[in-house]
Symmetry: C2
Subunit: 442 residues, 2 copies
């Protein structure tokens, strides 16, 4: 969609128009912008229920002639021009082109033209969600983005309607299917990280440049959206610390198993008073926990509430059809809301807490050293100097002395207490590289 | 609440009144009928948010003087008379007394008095849900019952708003916390069934007479409600076959483990054309599956959709606070709907499929015999006569010959094909009792 014509945001600051009138019984007109995998699935579901409350009226995409499908009804208009969507009678615009540009301007233009918007765009919502919600409110429109987190897993709808009676204080999850595929493959086959990554790429679970997934950028955008929806907090995704999974290797699963654990990329956010503790990164989790059991590219979200305790939601976190279910469910919700004139369920204000990654947990430190006498003694001395307590020292036999891996686990301490010690240890001449440091989650 | 005064249902067939007018910004008035564990939790949550969209105005219970709590605001009216609730300005009545009588009449009277109803009453909804929804519609009221299944796990709200874009064809779950506590305790401690039951009773997870839980009555009522909400089918709960878990013993977990499985009480419903395949009972499930991993008294619901595939919802299936979250979430939804005049999301008609328990699965048959030569041969002959294929024969050493347990597993066949063979085998003189026959689920 990069060749889309210039959007209007910079040109016109048009006043919000009232949505065009539509009888409560007539179907809601839906324009689809972006006809990739998810877009096709959305169209398929909409066309399968021609009698339903939603009517697909327009599809906007580049190279529209090449995209046309015989199963799309003849009265659906195909266009390459987003202005034709803005000028149409569509009630709801579905934005499925992704990325910040031009998607952001398209969404803003649609809202300003009096059209409600449903989107699956995690980058856009993570960065601009609160502003776009405010714009939607000012334009008497609705904005929903249930498909932007965890694909088809109905977490955002459940937060909206099923857990609204609770007071949530924490959300955690396995939000990136690529990382979970790679880590669970290393776990089950004990293959090197690089081999698991290649396999994920070959199967279409990872892109050629998978940095956004591996280094946590994707997951922290989703975590920011979950914090917005579940904890009513406004969090810029780049303020959430993201640790890469690239340093995790097969031997870490052997050591983790000795501790009854496995390793997953975990995203977590805990609201305590006016601080949001949040981070994304590989973590040790009990092998028998819901997190430890998530295999392949599934997603898991766990909410923690004052009253209801922990709830877990598991399902396919990506894929055309599951994501399309989230989009269509949002469409039905918006159509219902528009016809009834329900006011938005989104709060007008979001909390703006301080963001911290200073969690207090036990830690797993895996060193890679040139072996010689006195290494443990020297590390123990540094840890002791920083008042950090060793819980266990694990050293498996059979590794070469020139690159010997071993593990020290620490009793709970804060991230900020640990890091000066890590820096000192990284500078020691026997350390081949800085140790891999993972939190051990309960 | 059994001493409540006679309800009006039999006396007056009063026409539906329109709900009393209420500005969109003024809070919704809530009357609580039943002030037990869940009722107290609901009141606590409502009173913790005095500025919210819901205002607790009335509490109705027997022995109201003994029930009064200092933390309930002074302007809340306490009464033992349900007529006072009907005659009040309450917008929504929360029915938390449970059972069919007098709860059913109370709900009907409330609807006829123009009051919307939120209830956690699984027996009532499983039996009369479609009729009560019709009455609610006729009275321009709303009826919601998210707390009637799986306690605080937001399954019904997720079906309503998050999976409405899918077309579901199956729902399965671990819906009874008592059975799951007992089975997972037998699994982990290899104690006899009777000991696990006593333990559950001592911990308050099972009643003195736990028949409703153990024999599947509770779970099939919940399954009927899930089928109503997720598959739009009207199912009388007593038409769903329920098998008891009483015959399952520790040695069955040993044999199940040899098959990579464990045993759970599974409720499942699959809609195929105009037949709803449904049943509740102990079943073998893979130990590593989401079902196999559910411990203690948690609940798990898995929905299967045409587009989104399988989604799993896990959480506390009972308890005052979690159930209260489901009630309060329903209250917020109803309050919003009432203020906006949204029409009910419930269909006007439900499918009325034929109900069948004739699932096609592999089977686990555990025999208890007086050992002598030729037993396997005789059983194999009967199975062969009925064209049933043996998959495996398992016999662990160390049991007395006078009461020898062993297992035969069968390749997939229909329930109806298997049962004539089971009857013949039960009549054999070496069988101490009919074999324990459990489906092996994928």
């Amino acid at each position: 969609m990069k060749a889309l014509p210039k959007t209007r945001s910079s040109q016109t600051a048009s006043l919000p128009k009232a949505p065009e009138s539509r009888g409560p019984a007539s179907p809601c007109r839906v324009a689809l912008v972006g006809f990739g995998t998810v877009g096709r699935s959305v169209a398929k579901i909409l066309c399968a229920s021609p009698e339903g409350p939603l009517r697909l009226t327009q599809i906007c995409n580049r190279n529209v002639e090449r995209k046309k499908q015989p199963w799309v009804p003849k009265d659906v208009l195909w266009t390459e021009d987003f202005h034709a969507v803005l000028d149409s009678a569509a009630d709801i615009v579905v934005e499925l082109i992704g990325g910040l540009h031009p998607a952001g301007d398209l969404v803003r233009d649609a809202l300003k033209a009096g059209k409600s918007v449903v989107t699956a765009n995690k980058q856009l919502i993570a960065r601009d969600g609160p502003d776009l919600l405010q714009l939607a409110r000012a334009c008497s429109c609705r904005l929903e983005f249930g498909a932007s987190v965890a694909g088809g897993v109905p977490v955002l709808p459940a937060l909206r309607t099923g857990l609204c009676g609770d007071r949530l204080h924490g959300i955690s999850g396995i939000l990136n299917g690529t990382c979970n595929y790679i880590l669970s493959r290393i776990e089950s086959a004990r293959i090197p990280f690089s081999e698991a990554l290649e396999e994920a790429q070959a199967r279409g679970y990872a892109e050629a440049d998978a940095s956004e997934d591996l280094d946590g950028g994707d997951a922290r955008a989703k975590l920011a959206i979950l914090a917005l929806a579940g904890l009513q907090t406004r969090v810029a995704p780049e303020t959430i610390r993201a640790r890469t999974i690239r340093g995790v290797d097969a031997l870490d699963f052997d050591y983790a198993a000795e501790l009854g654990c496995t390793i997953r990329q975990i995203s977590r956010a805990d609201l305590k008073h006016d601080i949001l503790f949040a981070e994304v990164g590989p973590s040790l989790v009990p092998a028998a926990s819901p997190f430890g059991r998530v295999q392949r590219n599934l997603n898991l979200v766990v909410t923690s509430g004052l009253y209801a305790g922990d709830m877990a939601f598991l399902g396919p976190g990506a894929g055309g059809d599951p994501t399309a279910v989230a989009v269509v469910s949002d469409l039905m919700f918006v159509a219902e809301s528009l016809s009834a004139g329900v006011r938005s369920h989104w709060p007008q204000q979001f909390l703006e807490p301080k963001i911290s990654c200073d969690f207090e947990t036990p830690w797993y430190l895996r060193f890679l050293v040139r072996d010689r006498p006195g290494i443990i003694a020297r590390l123990a001395e540094i840890l002791s100097d920083h008042e950090l307590n060793i819980d266990a020292v694990l050293q498996k036999p059979g590794f070469a002395k020139a690159a010997l891996p071993f593990v020290i686990t620490l009793e709970p301490c804060r991230d900020s207490q640990l890091h000066p010690a890590l820096e000192k240890m990284a500078a020691l001449d026997f350390c081949i590289k800085p140790c891999l440091c993972l939190p051990i989650l309960p």
